[in-house]
Symmetry: D2
Subunit: 364 residues, 4 copies
Amino acid sequence: MKNTIGNSLTVTLFGESHGKAIGAVIDGISSGIKVDEDYIANMLSRRRPKDALSTPRQERDEFSILSGVFEGYTTGTPICISIPNADTHSSDYGQMQYKMRPSHADYTANCRYNGFQDYRGGGHFSGRITAALVAAGAIVLPALNKKGIYIGTHIKSIAGINDIDFTNNKEIIDISKKDFPVLDETAKDKMQQKILEAKSQGDSVGGVLETAIIGLPAGVGEPWFDTVEGMLSHAIFSVPAVKGIEFGLGFDFADKCGSQANDQMYVDGDSVKCYTNNNGGVIGGITNGMPIVFRAVIKPTPTISKEQKTVDINTMSDTTLEARGRHDPCIAHRAAVVVESVAALVIADMLTTKFGTAWLAKFE
Amino acid sequence: MKNTIGNSLTVTLFGESHGKAIGAVIDGISSGIKVDEDYIANMLSRRRPKDALSTPRQERDEFSILSGVFEGYTTGTPICISIPNADTHSSDYGQMQYKMRPSHADYTANCRYNGFQDYRGGGHFSGRITAALVAAGAIVLPALNKKGIYIGTHIKSIAGINDIDFTNNKEIIDISKKDFPVLDETAKDKMQQKILEAKSQGDSVGGVLETAIIGLPAGVGEPWFDTVEGMLSHAIFSVPAVKGIEFGLGFDFADKCGSQANDQMYVDGDSVKCYTNNNGGVIGGITNGMPIVFRAVIKPTPTISKEQKTVDINTMSDTTLEARGRHDPCIAHRAAVVVESVAALVIADMLTTKFGTAWLAKFE
Amino acid sequence: MKNTIGNSLTVTLFGESHGKAIGAVIDGISSGIKVDEDYIANMLSRRRPKDALSTPRQERDEFSILSGVFEGYTTGTPICISIPNADTHSSDYGQMQYKMRPSHADYTANCRYNGFQDYRGGGHFSGRITAALVAAGAIVLPALNKKGIYIGTHIKSIAGINDIDFTNNKEIIDISKKDFPVLDETAKDKMQQKILEAKSQGDSVGGVLETAIIGLPAGVGEPWFDTVEGMLSHAIFSVPAVKGIEFGLGFDFADKCGSQANDQMYVDGDSVKCYTNNNGGVIGGITNGMPIVFRAVIKPTPTISKEQKTVDINTMSDTTLEARGRHDPCIAHRAAVVVESVAALVIADMLTTKFGTAWLAKFE
Amino acid sequence: MKNTIGNSLTVTLFGESHGKAIGAVIDGISSGIKVDEDYIANMLSRRRPKDALSTPRQERDEFSILSGVFEGYTTGTPICISIPNADTHSSDYGQMQYKMRPSHADYTANCRYNGFQDYRGGGHFSGRITAALVAAGAIVLPALNKKGIYIGTHIKSIAGINDIDFTNNKEIIDISKKDFPVLDETAKDKMQQKILEAKSQGDSVGGVLETAIIGLPAGVGEPWFDTVEGMLSHAIFSVPAVKGIEFGLGFDFADKCGSQANDQMYVDGDSVKCYTNNNGGVIGGITNGMPIVFRAVIKPTPTISKEQKTVDINTMSDTTLEARGRHDPCIAHRAAVVVESVAALVIADMLTTKFGTAWLAKFE
C-alpha cells in the first residue's frame, strides 16, 4: 500500500519539501473524538527546529484541517490535514539535482522514480513530511490518553552519551513536555555539547530513542505478521534515519540464557504481571499487559558540509560535494515526537481492528 | 491483514502444532515458475531438528501441494501447501493448558483468543508453523536465483561466540549448504558447545543471525511505510523469538559521525556504487544496488526445564513450572533458513509490485 | 488482493477442479464460534448436483478442517478447510486443452496465465471451487443467525418463468430448507421443465436469484468505495456466471420519478422505518435497518453440447466444438446457496470491521 | 479500506460539501505521466451543473495539485488534489440537521457516525465529492489514451427515453466531447424535456448509463474476487445514486439459452475475437480483448421539493419535508463523466497490478 500505513485506521502521507503543501489523510477514525488544534500546534512545535541544535529553516507549520472535523469533533470520515510550505530556499538545492548526497535518498529516489522526482530539498523524502505524521498523531493521541494509554519517548543516547532509564509511569507521561527529552539533565548538557561540536565541524551525530507505551490491555496483536513488533517496526522504519529497532532486551537477548531472560509471572489481584519486562510488553506478537518498550537507532544526518566523494548522475562521473543549504547536525531529539506520533497511529490502528470502528471515541 | 503478509505476492499461514496440518497459501505468484519438490524438501530438512542440538521431536514434513502447481510449474493461481502433523505428543502439554510458560505466548494467546486457542504445543504460535513459511520460501527462492538474486544467512553469534563476516558473494550463495551456517569453523564448535552446555543445564541460549541479499536492482521500495526495511522487519518479527532487527551498521550508527557513517559513491562503468555499505543496501527506504544486510536477534528459547515462577490461569494463583515436553536449547541455527525464506517472500512481493504479475517467471 | 476477499474477516480460495483438493482459508474470525460439521455438510449438499437437473459428476465433498477449530469452536486463528477432489474424469477434457469453450474462461485463463493454467475441467475457474466458498459461509452463517441476521435466496426466474416475491421474514429464514428454492411451487415445476428441455437439446438456460438479508442494524457500511453495495457486488461477481447485480428497485429505478422511488420514513417505537424498501436496505452505501434485497443474474451455462464455432489456440485456427464431459443445463438453483454463503462472508466481514475482532462470537 | 479504492494504484477521497475543501489522494501512480491542468479543468466542467437541467449551485472547481506533480509530470509519489468549496449556502440546510431527507444518506450517516457527521449539504455523502473523483480520473485518462485505451459513456436512457447503441470505436472515443452524452440527438431532446418537466413539478428522474472501454489487452483480471466485474462494480457503486450494474447482456442473460448467449470465437490474424460480445468483454472475471461494456442505473435524485413523510431524529417524531436548497432534477447526465473517471481509475489500478509500477508512463 506504498504511502499508506494501517489496516483499520490508515494514514496516507503526501507532499514534497518544496511543493505547495505536505499533509496526511487519516481514514477509519472513530467519529466523536475531540480535536484540539492547540494540541496539534504544540506537537508540531516539538518537532520544529528551534535553536542552534537544528537547521535554521523555520516553518510555522500552519496546518489546515480540510475535512473530517466538524464543530470540533471528528466526523468519522477522512481527515485531510494540509501544511503549506513557506520558508523554502529552493535555490540552495540547485546543484543537487544531479550531485547525489551520500547516504541521502537522492540516488535511490532517482532510480525509483526514473528522474521524475522533485529533487528540491529531498522532495517526498524530506524529513519535513514527518510534520504531517506528527499532526496525524496529534489527532489520535488525546483519544488514546483518555483511554489511559500514554506514549513517551526519551533520548537514550546521542553520540555515545547515555541517558538513564524510565523508572515510573509519571516519567513516561511527562517526558513529552520537554523540548529535549532526556531524564538525566547532566546527560542533556553533554549531548547538546556533542551536537554543537559536530555542527562546528560541519559534521553530524546519531543516537538512540527509547519509547514506552503504557496502559494497553493484554491481547492486542496477531501471531503471524501483524505482530505488535511487526506493525510498529513497519511504521517506525519510515521515520527518516531509523536503521534498527529492538524490543525489550533487544540485541542483549543474544548473550542471555533463557533462565535469565524469561519474564516470570505472578498474579496481582485479577490480573497477571511479570517480575521483569525483558520482552518489552510483547510475547508471541501480542501484548501481555506490561509496558511496550522499544528502541530505535537514528543514524547521523547524512547531509554534512564536509567534502565527500559522490557522483554526478547527469554526466555519470565522479565528483565531490560539500553540502550547502540548511541542515541539522542531529535529528534524534526532533525525531522523538515523530516516533511517538507513529507509535500512536499504529496502536490506534490495532485497537480499532480489535474493538471496532467506534471504540476510540467511546468512554464509559 | 492478520495472518497474511505481502501486497502483490501474499502468503497466509494456517495450522496448529498438534492439529491435522499446518500450511501456507501463496497468492499472486507468476505462472510458469518451475517447482522443484526436492528443493522444497531440502529447505525443510534445513529447518528440521536433526541432532543433539535440537528438540527430539521428529517431523518428516511430508508436504503436499494441494493446488496452484500443474505439470511442475506454477499455474499463477493460489498455491496451497499442506504439511500434516505426525509426531505429536499432546499429553506432554496437558499441564500447560492453564500453567503459562514464562516468555512463551501461552498467556498472550489466552488473552487474544479468550481461552479458545489450541494450547497444545503452542498451537498456532508454535515454531512448527515456520515449516510452512520455509516451504513457501522454497517456491520463490529458485525463481529469485534465476534472476541473479541470492539470500544467505549465517549465525553472527550464539551465546556470545561470534562468527566472522561475509567477505564475498560466493560465501553468501553457498552458506545455505551448511547445516549449521557459520563461516568460521572454530566459532561453530564453540557455539555448539555452548548450546550443549545450556541443554545439560535445562537452559537455553540466544543469538544473532545476519542475512545478506545480493543481486537486487536499485530502486526497489517506497519512501513512506513500504520501505525495504519496513517490509522486511514486518515479516521478520514473525519469526518466533526475533526481538530486534537492524540494517547495515544498525545500532552502531548511534556512535558514529555523519562523515564516518555516510556511504560515499563512485561511478563503476554504467552503474553507481558505494565505497562502503554502512546503510546495508537501503537508503530512504529504497535499494541502492549494494547488498542488503540485516541482523535479527533471536532470544533464548523460552521453554526450559528449570523451575520458574508462573501463574495458573484456571485458579488465578501463583505456581511454578518445570517444562517437560521436547524443546530446543537454541533455535538460532534452525531459524536461519526461516529468515531466508521470509526474506525471499518479501523480496518477491516487492519485485512483483514493481515489475508486475508475470515478472518472476520471465527470463530474457 | 486477487483470490482473497474481505478487509477484517478474509477468505482466500485455492484449488483446481481436477487437482488434489480445493479449499478456503478464513482469517480474522472471532474465537469461540461453535462449528457444526453437520451444518457444513448440509450446506455443501445444497450446492451439490443431485438429480437430472444437474451434471452427473458426483462429489461427496468430504471436507476436512485442517486448522483453526479446536474442540468444536473456532480458535480465532486461520481456518483452512480442504475438500479433496474425487470423481474427476480428466480424460473428458483432453480435447479442451487447446479448443476454447465459447463464453467459458478457457481462453481468458490462457491469456492471464500464459498457458500454464491447469486446463482440466476449468481448473481454478471451475464452479467446483464454490464448494469451498459454501463451506466457508457455513462457518459464519450460524454465528450470524445467533445475532438475528438471516440470509435467504430464492430463484426469481429461470428461462423466463418467474417466482413470486418474499412477503415475510419467515419465508426468508426458511427458504434454505428447499433444494430448489422457489416460493411458488407451480413456478418450480415450470422452471424444472424448462431446464430439462434445454438439457434434452444439449443447451442451457439462465436465471435470476434474489437475496434478502434481515436483522442487520442500521449504520453498517461506508460512504465511498466500501459501500454495502460495493462490497457485496465485488464478491458476488465471483460466483461463476453472474453478470449483473441490482439492489432494491435496481434497473427499474430508471423509469421512476423521485416521488415514486423515495422511501418515505416513519418512527416505529424507538426505531426508524420506511414505508417502502425501494433502496433495498442501503442508502448512501450504508444500511438503514430495512432488509437488504438484491438480485443477481446468472447467465446460461456456457458448456453446451451443441456445435459452436471456436478456435484452437495451439494451431491458431478456427474449429468447432461440441462439448463432451459432464455439465449442468442450468446452475441458477445450485448457485443460490453460493450467493448466500458469499453474502454471509461479506456481511460478517463488515460487522467485524465495525464491531471488532471478537464480536461475532459475543452474545449477551 | 473504507474511503480508498484500488490495490496498486489507489485513490482516497476526502471532504464534505460545505467544509473547507474536498479532494483526492492518488498513490501508486507511475512517475513520468504528463499532467495537463486544462484537461483536468475540462473534465471537471463536464461534471459541473451548467444549465436549467441542473442545480443552480455554481462551483468553479478551482483545483490545486498540492503534491506529486513536478514540472508538469507525475513524480510517482502521492498526488493530492484539493478543490476548495466556494459557493456554499449552508443555511439552506439548517432544517435538515434533524429532518431526514427520504432516500438520501442523512439517516444512515447519522447511524454510521453517531450524530457527529457534517450534515450540511449531505456532508461527505454529497455528490460534490465526485468532483475529486473526476479530477483523479483526469490524471490517469490521458495515460490510458496513450496506450490506446479509451473509455466512453453515453446516456442509455432517462425517464424511459432510450438512446441508440454505440456502433464503432470512434463514437466511444468522441462521446466525451458532448455535454449531454447521447448518440441520438432526437432522444436527447426528449430526455431533456422529461428532466425539465420533472423539475417544474419539483420532482426528479433517473436513467441508465452505458460505458464502453476499448483497447484493453486480453488477460487482465483475476478469477476469484478481483474479477474485472467485481473491481469495477465495487467502485461504480460509490457513484451516488447507482443501484445496479450489469455487463454485456446483463439481466437479459436470464431469458437466453446458452446457444444464443455464448460468444463464439474466431481467429483474426494473430489474435482471437468473438462474433458477438454478449459477455461485455469479460469472461471468468478476465478480459478477452473485446470491448468492456457495462450499464449502471442511476436512481432519481432523492432531494425533491414535493412534500414527503419523514422523521425528525431530534424529537423522534413523524414529520414532513419539502426540500429547499439547490438540487438536480436529474443527475444521470452529470454522472457520465464520473463513471468514466471511476472506470479509468479501476482500469489503471488493474494494469498497474499486472504490469508494474512504471508501466503507465512507458511508451515504446
